[in-house]
Symmetry: C2
Amino acid sequence: MSDTATLSQLFASIEDDLHLVDKTFEEATSSDMDMLTAAVVHVLGSQGKRLRIALTLLSGKLIQYRFEKLLPLSVALEMVHLATLVHDDIVDHATTRRDIPTVNALFGDNIAILLGDYLFAKTAGLVAEVEDFRVDRLFSETVARICEGTIMEMLSVRQLDLSIEHYIERVSRKTACLMSACCKGGAIVAQGSEAQIALLEQYGTNLGIAFQIIDDVLDYTGTATSIGKPAGNDLRQGLVTLPLIYALKHERNGRLEKVSALVGQAQPEDAEVTDVVRWVRDSPAIGEALELARHYAARARALLSEFPSSPERGVLEDVVEFVVARSR
Amino acid sequence: MSDTATLSQLFASIEDDLHLVDKTFEEATSSDMDMLTAAVVHVLGSQGKRLRIALTLLSGKLIQYRFEKLLPLSVALEMVHLATLVHDDIVDHATTRRDIPTVNALFGDNIAILLGDYLFAKTAGLVAEVEDFRVDRLFSETVARICEGTIMEMLSVRQLDLSIEHYIERVSRKTACLMSACCKGGAIVAQGSEAQIALLEQYGTNLGIAFQIIDDVLDYTGTATSIGKPAGNDLRQGLVTLPLIYALKHERNGRLEKVSALVGQAQPEDAEVTDVVRWVRDSPAIGEALELARHYAARARALLSEFPSSPERGVLEDVVEFVVARSR
């Protein structure tokens, strides 16, 4: 059974609502410009797990299910995700994502820049439908933090000497911040107490950090078939992630020079990348990275235990397990 | 006396408030990331006439001066303008704007993409401070329309056979839409009636169309010194604007082939550009374009006459005159 199927099972309780989400997506992004519509349809068609939608709906449902407000919010936050992916792919010169051509590859960088902007604009419209000023501020802060995280990542490219703290901060801003916003936003819309809102915000942050660590581990341990891109992709881009940080901690002397030369190169040889990937994969680094991911996952779970037991709490707990156990 | 000085005189009545605007700009865009701060400071330092800020404040003042709400709104809408310029300059591969290096030229395309996104995010935060859901929707719709206008322009590059209607529609979305949002937003915040809001929205649209026509005329009649870029810049980029549309209407046979060849080229020779610029400049096209600009300007003025006479109405009328009389 694929991971996506597993996730669908987890989300069975909100399945009907997820269908309404699709309709909202289409309505919210319609334009009288064919080129824009074609690009939007392409982006919507290449959506992944839609984890952010589910997190928003489930966080709301954990407290009080006000679906008419959760619907625009969940679509808005997934759309922020899509908009940042569209712009990220330009920045990374990525030609495919999950084996599907990127917008920049299909339509060119210029259309991709404007499509991202257009999706941000439409997101703001959906956020406005929620009619809660706290959500307006959350949206603004979240997008600003993601931009900061992306710039942080950009500036850390080809930097070998990164601390774990730097990595966690970067990942918090770039990835965890949006998952946190989904959970926090869901709680706000559900009229949760300050304490409930803070708990779900932290749940999302910890979940998001665990999620990104696993993503970065899979970039070393996965195969092109399982993760939809060749292993060592980050390394090839000169991006140092947690597994490599751990690996270098142990074995600086023997390998440092080789890894440094590799990370410093704009277009490293495949054989060199494979060599370093294999070295990291066979080192204790993967185990250590997984342990740190499980640490954040455990924190996420613990935060949920503050809520009374319920089917929704159960699903949010399962999401944590899914995130650390996934292989793609 | 320079045009900017003239505009400052027009805005003398809101001069003190304009200083507060600067402070709000700085506070709203502060980041703990040096690279981002440096890019923001550069963008704020290269701001032009700040016409959008003045339009927002004056439109509000025409009805009821609620400065505490008009302040974040005016900064937000000027910031939308700055964000779109930052992204436009990437799309156009522009290296300077008003003789100042562009963000993409100084910091690279990737930082420019993210700076634009960051400014959009911060804009959403300022819009949230206004705490009016109509303004939230206006912000979303305006940014979406600007994106559509920019894509419309992008798709019309190297197209010679454009109608005046197409040109006006493109200009309405790309330029006039934001000026219209400033005036409409000011009226909303000032708690104007539906009729007042609609009048100011239309005032902004007509003013914005007149503004862009003049901009496009100046690209044929201006000098590098007066407009901060060499004449014929649009033509060099393959962009057909109103003066050329009019010129081709009169003299298709003699010139069509030559102009068509020029517009079709990615990097035309300077001499060829100068030749076509001179031909358009010496044709009746400039006069006709100016006449159309004056037609929209007159409509903008007429809409103001629905408001009782006041100093603010006087300034908004003078803005119309300034826009059509300006030489840069």
